[in-house]
Amino acid sequence: MNVTRYSYLSFLLLFALMVAPGLVRAQDAPSEQVLAGEKLYKSNCASCHKLNAKLIGPALEGVESRWAEQADHDGISGREWLKRWIKNWQDPVNAGNPYAVSMQNYDASAMTQFPALQDADLENILAYIAYGPIGSTGPTGPTGPLETAENPYTAYMLWGLLILLVVVALVLLRVSNLLNRLVLEKAGEEIPAPVPFWKNKKFRAALTLLIVIYIGNATVTGAIDLGRQQGYMPEQPIKFSHELHAGINKINCQYCHSSAAESKHSNIPSTNVCMNCHKGIKGDDPKNGKYGKLEISKIYAAIGFNPFSGQYFEDYANQEKSYIDSIFTVWLSDSKVKATDKDVEAVLAQVNKPIEWTRIHNLPDHVYFNHSQHVTAGGIECQTCHGPVETMEELYQFSPLSMGWCINCHRETEVKFNQNPYYETFQVYHERMKEGEMKNVTVEKIGGLECQKCHY
């Protein structure tokens, strides 16, 4: 764990050093236009183009200047031709623009046409491309309500006060004893021999009581904590960073965990979903990343993707293992951070096998929990229960997932009583709300605390 932490820190440091020049260059905040362009770019272009590397299409960095310099034709500027190309690449080709003709067979797969893009959209996209990637260390995604840590000083002060009071009490006791003795001495009565405090009956009684309370408390707390694993952060077979995917790249949670909206389970994405992006992003970018190539190779090994050819192996299950192994060994020999034998082994062990993730959020078998109930019907943010996942390099269990925790939320959370026609059934409540007898309808009021809502 520590090693990971350190490597994580060093990674951050390295990353900061690497991106520093970029940050310097892109000092001015992105304009509205650039932001709008980014949105369009991500939804339309990003699946085939990267800014700084070839994906399916060419790298788009400097595309404007390339067209401006090389594609003037028929009295129309290269930049205009570029815009036409984006909308429908066949248009400049048919018009005989030599640059466009030279580009038409860039890749076996033809470019998608975007007739719906307006001129302003194209300008926005070009502005974004010219600006470059926006703040890669930028802000994080949506955050849910996080528990605010208590002010530690309050606690210190309380403890200090307590100790002070105990000291004062002891001093006063001593003083009182002394005075008693003095009184007795003055009266000439016999002074009883001083009893050491550990033989004092009251002290013993108090101590016993304290011990009983302590053990009792520890037992009860321990018993309650049985089976709970808040903070659980097991090592996973792939160093998958939610921070990178959900935080930096802002991929929507439900892009990968797609069944959360429709099923009781929020699935761990199947490997083919990873491949939607990682067919192109191979982790071999010479400028970025560290162990990405190694980790991404595990996906390739699992599903049977040849990173050299960019194609899936045919009939992967029946391929010679040694042949597959050799391909991945060669692929990894060129990692930025040199892959150790053990690293390579880990990749080869994944060949043709599904990825065995370690499950973090475990509910007991007698609990029925339905993601879609909360995500779709309730409109609850993922972060409400899972915490700031977009900041987690390594995922851990954020919430206690205890029954008390569930129940509390059900007490406080309002249902979409007036938005969802389903709740028209609750006529009584509608009437009461009309008459002002009832302010809101929480999950509790529609039965959300009842046993058989979760246990059956």
Binding site: E262, S372, Y456
Partner: protein, 1067 residues
Amino acid sequence: MAEQQFWKGLDEKFHEPEFMQQAGKEFPDELPGFGAKLQQANTSRRDFLKVLGFSVGAATIAAGCEMPVQKSIPYLVKPDEITPGVANYYASSYVDGGNYCSVLVKTREGRPIKIEGNSQSQITFGGTDAAAQASVLSLYDMYRPRGPVANKKATDWAELDKAVVEKLQAIKAAGGSIRILSSTIISPSLKAAIAKFIEQYPGTELVQYDAVSYSGLLDANEQSFGLRVVPNYRFEKAKVVVSLGADFLGTWISPTEYAYNYGLTRKVSKENPTMSRHYQVESYASLTGLNADIRVPVKPSEETAAAITLYNLVASKLGGQSISGGKLESAYAESLKEAASDLAGAKGASLVVSGSNDVNVQLIVNALNQMLGNYGTTIDLNEYSNLRQGNDTAYNKLVADVEAGAIKGLLLLNCNPAYNLPQGDKFIDALSKVELTVSLNDKQTETDTLCQFLAPDHHYLESWGDAEPRNGHISIIQPTIDPLFNTRSAGESLLKFAGIDQSYYDFVRENWNTNIFPKQVGLTTFGHFWDRSVHDGVLTYTPTTTVTEATIDVAAAGAAALKNVKSGGLEVVMYEKTAIGDGKNTDNPWLQELPDPVSKITWDNYACVSLKYAEANGLDYTADRTKKSYGRTVQTVKLKVNGAEVVLPVHIQPGMPDNTIAVALGYGREVVGKAGEVGQNVYPFITKYNNGGQSRYATDASIEVTGNDYKLGQTQTHFSVSDGLNQRGIVKTTTLEEYAHDPAAGNHDRAHVKEHLNTLYGYHEFPGHKWGMGIDLNACFGCGACVVACNAENNIPVVGKKEITLYREMHWLRIDRYYFGDVDNPSAVFQPMMCQHCDNAPCENVCPVSATNHSTEGLNQMAYNRCIGTRYCANNCPYKVRRFNWFDYWGADSFTLTGALENNYDPHEMTGDLTRMVLNPDVTVRSRGVMEKCSFCVQRIQEGKLNAKKQGRKLKDGDIKTACQSACVTGAIVFGDVNNPESAATVMSDNERAFKVIEEIHTLPSISYLTKVRNISDKDQLKAVNLLSDNEMHPLGADAHHNAGGHDAAGGDHSAPHDNHVEEGHH
């Protein structure tokens, strides 16, 4: 004490001391698992401390253990249609020989877990039977054949094919004859595959036979109409039904279909107070008989006489040719006169069916129906049924040929002659001399052990296929899971043997393209047609059938029928049980544990005798002669018929004719999964008619009392609300005549009861939904499909016979069968009984940990994890519907220790990894020591509500169906939100016939039952039956309080109405 009018068993009827002692108790006295020793043991303080110390220590160790690491393994490439956690449904067909049901298979994460009916089917109408419901468990049967076998050694398919083809070619070259012996085949594609096989090996013939033969019926139709088919019986059009021994609601040909149609004529309403009248002439107490309006018990040898008598009576009214001789001499013969006049009065709207396998009797029945003008109205020969095709003559010839060594190759398809061929020893010997024997069975059978090659078929849930249960109605079988074992479609095997290297899927598709696609109109491309067919599961086209009607010579038929009659001495009739059938599915634990609808006995077959016969032969006492053997402990007898003998327990069955013993077929299997190793095989008792047809009764039997006692797993009087059964409104009946005048007939006491309902407790508020159920006793025939559906849906464990004898069955839903009327010829009311979800529930008050409590939707909730197993709730439940887990039946968290510490109890191997795949992942598997009961399928309620929420709409009536409701073919059960005034459940609860069980104790049940209306005209008979239910409430004696809520503060003295006036002051 006066004789009760409703009784569940003879022990209850006659107030046997043992029964009376037991009746008031939820649990029998002793804890039989430990014996009296434990009861008397002095548990000292030291022992207590020791146990406490051990528990604390164990808990500490357990606490010290780390949480197990769980893996979560996603798909590599996720199939599009699978979303983990969301069920998929695939249309398919349950086909087992001639038993058919169109189904939807519910799968979760790629494994089938539940069978639902396909409502698009015009044959089974969305209903299912118990066997179809239980078929999903057979898929995970660990005793299934796991791959091809050659000469008792496991082999692979290529080897097997090679060896079989070699032999087949050799036989072909030598000109030897080959036979394919099969149970009824209703699959057009399988028949096409067989045709291909025959093309390749011309010496081959297909011989079909049914273990329980319908050859007589088929032969008769061939003679009468030139069609060797079962006609399509239209029960829905029949105003008068006379069944001569045909158990059409339980086992006869297509009971689900008939129950639906018959049910339509049995439901009554104020607006339409008409219903069919049903006469049943039968030689044993069948499910159909107990549902009939008028039942005529006859000895099996008298069935022919009954048919002739009925024919003559109708003929005398309508002026037809009469048959001489064979008049039925019976005390009940009067009823036949009534039947005849009813039939004659309903020409063209009546129906006579017969269960006889004597072709002559069937000819008489055909003539009778012809005379009544029923062909073309209630009997349709155009869309005839394919469900039975077996031919006794061909089968007998095949057996003779095998015995004579004339058959060189024999392929067996879904049949088991070594088990069900009577006097089959010679055949079995001869089988080993046949050059080539191949079994294509999908289950292990006695016959398999005699075959050289086993080429096991898929389970139907794993295979492609089709079925044409009725001419013009085709349905598809599609796989819902990859084959679990190395099995292969029987059709594909036959193709492979014929040298055709084609997958069965391709073959079926091709067959549909060439033969079925052209028959339909509407769709122009085959791909579209195929996709739609696979999606819907069923399709219909209009067939044209040529009927060549011949005149039936009834005189000759009558004479021949009378010649077939054997008589004399003790007669034995062999019948099928509703769930077990002919014995193929006898190893299905769900079906074995389903109490027989009539006898309520599980896990056994037995000799049913009448009370008179038992008394005459000293069988009414147990062997030690101190206790009556009315209930569970009974004597055994050695029954000898035709030189065969078996030892069977005796069951005194009300409704049995005199001097007759009825025994169920389908038991006593030897090569079978563990659950099937019960009962005795009585196929050897089967005899033959003069024409060689199978005769399912025998005469001149003898019994010998063995002097041994036997315990039957009989549930009929378990969990009785017996005390005061007739004083309290548990079941109510009336007659059609009275109902027509007064819709509240039989239910008048309810108004009085409702007036006096009051409580010290507050009432619950139900701001949103309030779940309620309605059950129409007129539409419940007691088949038990709902019980098995409930088992499958709710992960209800199988406890086995021993536990059942200890009153520990776990079924959440039971069907109480209340006899009424004459003990020699009773009728019955079937009442599904499950948790009533009382709004003033006695169980809730007594739970010390509030593990059972009430929801704002009116559900009586059971939180298993909170339950500490005091069983107070069960003791306090007046309906006796709570079940306690005495063991860890599913093996959820068993210790693998032995002796007293072992908590796993698994007599029928339900805890294997394979079997547990049938579990519903949305329902908790309960562990030992907790209570459970019907939850109104809360998982379905939650799912229905969530779907509505997600779609942003109000919940519609019918969105949520409980498992029992969706299994029921007649729609006897409706479920819904009674806060919604338009829901079916509300409408039913507002019906004048609606009553709630023991409502007077003010439990406020959520289930309304509708009074059973019977179409009988004999008012005197009714009066005897129904004396009290029409009267006002009787003030109850102290006795009656005791059982049902006497200790409950809410119930208190409310059951005595006059007391309530005092309490009203408090409110």
